[in-house]
């Protein structure tokens, strides 16, 4: 995890809130560093993590995780991490006989109506077990990323329903947290992706938006991060708080600074 990002969010693994939905989005840049941050954050917080990884392989996340101080292989072996490797599992759907519905069953079906099998997988992975295993702090669902589900043919309402049911199970019933990544198509006029992004924004308690610089590529400033705290059910007397910082991604950390205050230009 990135300590500077923890400072901006005013949180630590010991003081992680519960029952929250965090939305990560990126536009004109790669926001996957936020996924790696929250994966290592919640593993270090001793939470049970279900990671639906549809974009990269397990070894990719493991290599980056080791730079951030977590070992995904060991976490998986001790039962703290349930990892759905989408790239590998999608092949299993086609070439292996399935006795039970596969989480990615929708890839086989011509008119896949919903993502209920994927929801059942998440629910099963995070349900509390009482067989003498180490008690984990709270369950966490991490999804990287939801936009690819639209690309694979799912409708936006089906994806929103999947997140709705995950919110009910993870955030409301189990008092856990969810972190999901959605790409912002910006001027590509992808209506379904915009509905997905806006629909999730209305449900989120925290929105982290990584944006590329309007002026283009810069060696010393890789982008800017907008942080928006929301209270979907709280009075507007307490206004939602918003911060914007620029950042530079290094080998094992990310440094954040106020706009125009990069150490390279001071």
């Amino acid at each position: 995890m990135f300590p500077e990002l923890n400072n901006l969010l005013n949180t630590t693994p010991d003081r992680a809130e519960q029952g929250k939905l965090t939305l990560l989005c990126d536009v004109k840049t790669d926001g996957s560093f936020l996924v790696h941050h929250f994966l290592s954050f919640y593993l270090k917080a001793n939470c049970k993590v279900c990671f639906v990884a549809l974009i990269q392989s397990f070894s990719h996340y493991n290599i980056v995780g080791q730079k951030l101080g977590v070992n995904l292989t060991m976490a998986r072996e001790r039962g703290q991490l349930v990892f759905l490797e989408g790239l590998k599992s999608s092949v299993d759907v086609f070439f292996q006989a399935q006795k039970e519905p596969h989480p990615l069953q929708f890839l086989r079906e011509a008119n896949a109506g919903n993502l209920q099998p994927l929801y059942e997988f998440v629910r099963e992975a995070l349900k509390p077990v009482n067989n003498g295993e180490a008690a984990w702090r709270c369950p966490v669902l991490l999804v990287d990323d939801l936009s690819v589900l639209l690309s694979l043919g799912m409708g936006v309402v089906a994806v929103l329903d999947f997140i709705h049911y995950c919110r009910v199970a993870v955030c409301w019933e189990l008092k856990g947290n969810m972190v999901v990544l959605v790409h912002d198509s910006d001027d590509a006029e992808d209506e379904e992706n915009d509905i997905l992004l806006n629909g999730l924004s209305h449900q989120s308690h925290l929105i982290l938006r990584a944006e590329g610089l309007a002026t283009g590529f810069c060696r010393d400033v890789h982008g800017q991060l907008r942080i928006l705290w929301r209270r979907p059910s709280q009075p507007t007397a307490q206004r939602d708080r918003s911060l914007t910082y620029q950042y530079k991604i290094q080998d094992k950390s990310v440094s954040f600074f106020a706009k125009g205050m990069s150490p390279a230009v001071l």
């Binding site: 919903n114 309402v157 929103l160 329903d161 709705h164 049911y165 915009d194 929301r230 059910s233 009075p235």
Partner: protein
């Protein structure tokens, strides 16, 4: 804004990610409940505990809650799902038999619009909001008010226009001069549409605190379908001066504005000729005159 509760029919609360509308919906629900009305709530987006949070027992006791949050599509197969799904829940509200003024809150219309055909939803809303007329029934006419929360970024112009045509009142939430504001567009039958902007804030107990609005000449005629843009939203500097800053600015003497004393010091006397010159030019002339004088003597 409290006039919204005085009329029946459909009231659309249009919010956005930046300006959420659930707190205003809860404030209006609280107002209705404290007026003695029965309030029916169809909740699709938040849990019952989260929705009731902040209401005291006087309000909570008057709420009839229809929970579509826990299992709206019957995925759990536990029998806890609402029979008939979203449409069944709406029809259950239509069939209620309570008398007296009623407020029906839909949280949210956006969720219903994403899961039901627009025409079916509009027909149901029309039936809900027109239940003040009971044909063939001798019971007194009762006032029905439907409050619908709508996330305007989620829908295209067609469904938005359809819902707008059904609504008697549209409230669009945004920001005016850094303050939460509601742009209210009322369209009642056989009356001219009215526009109004109201600044407000909602207190922690969901009481509505109305503030004095902006001066009438500064209120633009707003199209309720386009969100107003606040030019001061993201400025990193102040556009206005306080009274103290203005006085300091007015009393400041600028370097190129000369007082009469300074003016007279800059005049250079060359023989009997007085020439108004700048200080650097006067120095140059003095040096030239001094040299010339030295050369001739």
């Amino acid at each position: 804004m409290l006039d919204l509760l005085a009329v029946g029919g459909l009231v659309l609360l249009r919010d956005s990610v930046e300006w959420e509308g659930r707190s205003l919906l809860k404030a209006l629900i609280k107002k209705s409940a404290l007026c003695g009305e029965q309030v029916h709530i169809l909740s699709c987006e938040v849990s019952e505990e989260e929705f009731r949070e902040g209401f005291d027992s006087d309000v909570n006791n008057r709420l009839v809650y229809y929970d579509l949050f826990r299992d709206p599509l019957n995925w759990s197969k536990t029998g806890e799902a609402f029979p008939g799904g979203p449409l069944g829940a709406l029809r259950a509200i239509c069939k209620r038999t309570d008398s007296g003024p009623v407020t029906i809150a839909l949280d949210s219309l956006s969720w219903l619009l994403l899961h039901l055909p627009c025409t079916m939803l509009c027909q149901t809303l029309h039936a809900l909001s027109r239940q003040d007329v009971c044909p063939g029934d001798s019971s007194p006419v009762r006032q029905v008010r439907v409050l619908g929360l709508l996330h305007e970024e989620l829908h295209g112009p067609g469904p938005m226009a359809a819902l707008s045509s059904l609504a008697q009142t549209e409230v669009t939430l945004s920001c005016t001069m850094g303050q939460a504001s509601a742009h209210i567009h009322c369209q009642r039958p056989r009356q001219r549409p009215t526009h109004q902007t109201q600044l407000f804030s909602i207190l922690p107990d969901f009481s509505l605190d109305l503030q004095e609005g902006p001066p009438p000449e500064s209120q633009p005629h707003l199209d309720p379908h386009t969100p107003p843009v606040d030019p001061m939203a993201h400025l990193t500097f102040n556009l206005r001066l306080s009274n103290k800053e203005r006085e300091a600015k007015d009393s400041l003497t600028l370097p190129f504005q000369f007082s009469s004393e300074k003016n007279s010091r800059l005049y250079c006397t060359l023989g009997q000729v007085r020439l108004p010159v700048t200080s650097s030019m006067s120095q140059m002339l003095m040096m030239t005159w001094t040299k010339k004088t030295q050369m001739t003597t």
